[in-house]
């Protein structure tokens, strides 16, 4: 699989818990993915875009999309801000110029074909693939329709066929991947009359963009959008005014989407590995506490009984002793009495004899 370069997730075995099968964890290493060598891309020079919507029409045609209500030659459509949807893989929007008030600016929107796509990282059935040609393609045959890819995409590109009952798909620009494999240009690039779109190897496009900026420093902002944004994209943009001015977010950062979630994913196998220890430990400790408490209780009871017994025995012994003494005294008294009586009797006998 070309996209998911780091697979951290612990596979929980049938019973629920097992080993963590960690694969290449680039996020935590010093390795850095810079895109497939010789992969293709498109450079969009927004200063050359005239807002003719030819690219939209061509895209609609090569992808066999349904005809829109308003024709592609109707430029009033440009007055409202649009985004990609299930029937349009690309749209052109019009913006106000700040440098030259009154003049319009145009920018084409479509999938940027990230080098490390958020959609592919977020998909729980691996429906997205970053191909070595540069296109991010989607496989509807495994898609469950959870739409997490749409939540994850920082450019708000994937759309959904909400009105389909049995086979709704996620839809987005494919960079005309099937046409690329046939050796053809993407539909939009082929038709652009203003040369606002240039197809080529991404490396070459970066060089071309730098060259244009170098030659016309007054005409361009010194930044190639997509060179580093979200870890880099196959589509690159250069503009005459700030990217924000043409509706592009400048706060996305340069961290590839998979790296954002790497930490959270890495914790998972640790929890699976350590929680059994902590929890059985807690159980064992509470059991031991109970056992010790029971033992202490038993000990205390035994002690109390022993003490009581001792005291009772002592008392008994004392009583016995006393009784014995009393008995002895009584016997002695009796013996004495008997002796005295005997003496008396003897004396009486003597008197009678005399």
């Amino acid at each position: 699989m070309s996209v998911s370069r780091r697979k951290f997730l612990a596979w929980m075995g049938g019973a629920g818990l097992s080993t963590a099968v960690g694969r290449k964890a680039f996020a935590a290493s010093n390795k850095h993915f810079e895109g497939y060598p010789d992969s293709f891309g498109v450079l969009h020079d927004t200063t050359l875009c005239v807002g003719c919507r030819s690219c939209e029409a061509a895209c609609n045609k090569v992808n066999d999309l349904p005809q829109p209500e308003k024709s592609f030659t109707d430029l009033k459509v440009l007055d409202e801000k649009r985004r990609t949807d299930a029937a349009a893989y690309t749209v052109v929007n019009k913006y106000e110029s700040v440098k030259k008030p009154g003049l319009p600016l145009f920018r084409k929107i479509q999938c940027n074909h990230c080098l490390e796509p958020a959609c592919a990282s977020a998909c729980f059935v691996k429906a997205f693939t970053k191909t070595k040609e540069g296109a991010v393609v989607y496989d509807a045959s495994v898609c469950v329709g959870c739409r997490y890819c749409m939540v994850a995409c920082p450019f708000n590109i994937p759309a959904y066929e909400y009105d389909k009952v049995l086979d709704p798909r996620v839809v987005k620009c494919t960079l005309c991947h099937p046409r690329l494999l046939e050796g053809k240009l993407p539909g939009c690039v082929e038709v652009c009359p203003a040369e606002a779109l240039t197809f080529g190897k991404r490396e070459d496009l970066l060089a071309l963009a730098r060259e244009r900026i170098r030659k016309h420093p007054d005409r361009y902002v010194h930044h190639i959008y997509g060179e580093k944004e979200m870890g880099g994209t196959s589509w690159l943009y250069i503009t005459g005014e700030s990217f924000e001015q043409v509706g592009m977010r400048e706060d996305l950062g340069i961290t590839p989407a998979p790296n954002l979630t790497a930490g959270a994913l890495a914790v998972v196998p640790m929890v699976a590995g350590l929680w059994p220890l902590f929890l059985t430990g807690a159980y064992a400790m509470s059991r031991r506490k109970e056992k010790i408490a029971a033992e202490e209780q038993a000990g205390a009871v035994a002690n109390a009984i022993a003490e009581t017994n001792d005291a009772a025995e002592k008392k008994l012994a004392q009583a016995l002793e006393k009784a014995k003494k009393e008995k002895e005294a009584a016997i002695q008294k009796e013996v004495k009495k008997a002796l005295e009586e005997a003496v008396k009797a003897q004396e009486a006998d003597k008197e009678e004899d005399a």
């Binding site: 951290f8 977020a122 729980f124 739409r147 994913l265």
Partner: protein, 395 residues
């Protein structure tokens, strides 16, 4: 004692079927079934306001996110009783497990409405594993945990059915199931929050954080504890005659203990929320409109009920504890809706924002109603609030 004897002891003859409550429930069911037909014949666009900017709506924000958090009473109660040795909470375990089982079961039912091709829901587990996705982690854990909850709950059902042998076998697994339950809950409760870590550009900075996973896990604890208190107070009102002396005797202790625990955890949660703001240095957003809303959530629905819990436990004020539990439950719902919907796409103009379709609201009410009806069905028939006389000795 025979089953008939048990029945006569615990189940006095029922009232009429045609009560006002049953009529309302019947109406909700009818509307729910109607929306169900519309959903599966007309597609998602027929009954939802979901669009390309808001692929996730009320069913994910409430049914899934809030539903899973509020079903956390299952793992918190069973862990407290079986793992941490708080045996005095034993009579609270069964109601909590039942609530959790029904909660998760309905989450899964609700997901079948939400995803585009529900018959493919087993795909991530058995067909094409997208292991780089946090949603894969959520799916795997929820599937496994639902199985665990089913087994934990099945002890009750088996007692009711009189299948003693099977009941004893599963009952002997209690400890293992509890440990599994806590592991799986830790993982998926946190991963539900971690789902949004991939979208820092879409979620408002006050809600977005590298700690989202921790926030969701910690908040699930007091959500679960509060839900046990909340459910207990309702059950006391409606199912008092089903409760045995042990349950009634332990109940006050459960309420006080859980309220105390929730209060502590809520203040710890506030602390880590402040740490998150300090970490990302997003203080300045507190002055904005979203900042006010964030403070309403934090102060009104975490700090306030946390404080009320503490005071109420000190004073043994059970009425106040019930109020605090209700505020906490609402607060968790608010938090999950904020992360999933309200603070999501916060930069979009108002006309592009999402508001649920009547069909989404209707089906959500439908799910909650099914849960309540199933709960009532089970507690009025099975040994939930009392111990089955045949099994008194075994635990």
């Amino acid at each position: 004692m025979s089953q008939d004897a048990v029945k006569t002891k615990f189940f006095p003859p029922d009232r009429s079927f045609y009560t006002p409550v049953n009529m309302v429930v019947g109406c909700i069911m009818a509307v729910g079934l109607l929306f169900t037909v519309l959903r599966f014949t007309g597609g998602l666009s027929m009954v939802t306001n979901l669009d390309d900017n808001y692929p996730w709506g009320l069913w994910i924000g409430f049914d899934l996110m809030a539903g899973v958090a509020l079903a956390a009473g299952g793992y918190t109660t069973s862990a407290a009783c079986y793992l941490f040795g708080m045996k005095r909470f034993h009579s609270a375990v069964r109601p909590a497990i039942l609530t959790a089982f029904l909660g998760y079961a309905l989450v899964v039912v609700s997901l079948h409405y939400d995803v585009g091709r529900p018959w493919r829901l087993p795909y991530p587990l058995f067909w094409s594993q997208g292991t780089t996705s946090l949603l894969f982690e959520v799916g795997l854990c929820v599937a496994l945990y639902l199985t665990v909850l089913f087994l934990e709950y099945s002890v009750t059902a088996l007692e009711w059915l009189g299948l003693k042998k099977l009941r004893h076998i599963i009952h002997r697994l209690t400890l293992v199931l509890t440990i599994f339950g806590v592991i799986l809950s830790t993982l998926h409760q946190s991963s539900l929050g971690a789902l949004f870590i991939i979208a820092p550009s879409k979620l408002h900075p006050l809600w977005y954080s590298q700690y989202l996973a921790v926030y969701f896990f910690i908040s699930s604890m007091f959500a679960g504890l509060s839900m046990v208190i909340f459910e207990g107070s309702l059950s006391h009102k409606y199912f008092h005659d089903k409760m045995d002396d042990t349950y009634l005797g332990e109940h006050d202790g459960v309420v006080l203990g859980f309220a105390k625990g929730a209060s502590f955890i809520m203040f710890a949660y506030l602390v880590i929320k402040v740490i998150g703001i300090a970490m990302d240095n997003t203080w300045h957003y507190l002055g904005s409109g979203y900042g006010m809303w964030f403070l309403v959530e934090m102060l009104g629905f975490v700090a306030l009920p946390g404080f009320l819990y503490a005071v109420a436990v000190r004073d043994r004020n059970f009425g106040l504890i019930r109020k605090a539990a209700l505020i906490t439950v609402l607060g968790i719902v608010l938090n999950r809706l904020n992360v999933c919907l309200i603070a999501f796409n916060w930069y979009l103009p108002l006309e592009d924002r999402y508001f649920p379709h009547i069909g989404e609201i209707g089906l959500t009410i439908f799910m909650v109603t099914i849960g309540v009806v199933a709960f009532k069905f089970i507690v009025t028939r099975m040994p939930i609030f009392y111990e089955h006389p045949d099994y008194k000795e075994s635990h």
